[in-house]
Symmetry: C2
Subunit: 126 residues, 2 copies
DNA sequence: GCAATACTTGCATAATGGCGTCAGTACGCA
DNA sequence: TGCGTACTGACGCCATTATGCAAGTATTGC
């Protein structure tokens, strides 16, 4: 019985399920937000909302909201000083998250799995 | 002028912009889809829509749609044999994609960037 | 205090997306 | 040819979200 049925397999609690964070992924999945994040990463320093808004054609308030959304999702950190808010992207931790995701997926691949793809427990629990 | 303004930085065409594929990320960002993908990865073999649908509580047609969406985004491959469609997740290529993403982000970090964070071209083009 | 700057928030609108129902298509088998 | 299985597609409902505009809230400088 090489691996198991999907239903059995789905009961296994794995690291991947935690790393596939919907909030973070949704924050990344919107093109405008992705562009803003990329912009902040390229810039490599904290930037104000005004500065970032100059990168794209959408309204200033929209940019403000997008940045707040990404900060809430943990993609950015906000540092308010006086009347300006400095947003910065932590490239290292984001890269680390993606590497963790890659690792978590590798853990599930048949080649390196619990049973080498040859036999699993009857409950698919490996 | 350490790095540049976000506006200048945003003009740089980098690998990250290609890897931050909205279609792929949107396909991953939906909890039900993430669960289905995880299920297929855990299972480690091609599964039919019927099998996968047994993993979650949503309607069969919804599962069919989700799987088609992920296939369109390149997360899954579909192989129709007779009247059943075998969907399979390529864990290796997905993991590779995430690793590429991590690398592309690292390429932008000031520590390893073009100029070590000390000086960039006046056009921010590095 | 007053004006300007830098954001945030409320509101209305439009678009998107997920979902179930139900009908249709395609295939296998007797 | 008829029936059952395995999906897919069209349709409508509803919740969420992206967006622009306008008003509001700090905060700074004069």
């Amino acid at each position: 019985m090489p691996p198991s049925t999907p239903k059995q397999a789905s009961r296994r609690r794995v690291r991947l399920d935690r790393l596939l964070d919907p909030a973070l992924l949704r924050a990344l999945a919107e093109p405008t937000r992705a562009k803003l994040l990329s912009c902040l990463l390229k810039c490599g320093r904290p930037c104000s909302v005004t500065e970032v808004a100059a990168c794209c054609s959408v309204d200033f308030s929209t940019v403000s909201r997008h940045l707040a959304t990404m900060a809430r999702a943990g993609l950015l950190t906000a540092d308010k000083q006086g009347r300006t808010v400095w947003y910065s992207a932590d490239g290292e931790s984001l890269a680390a998250h993606f590497r963790d995701l890659a690792e978590a997926i590798d853990e599930l691949s048949p080649d390196e799995g619990c049973c080498g793809g040859t036999a699993c427990g009857s409950d698919g629990g490996c």
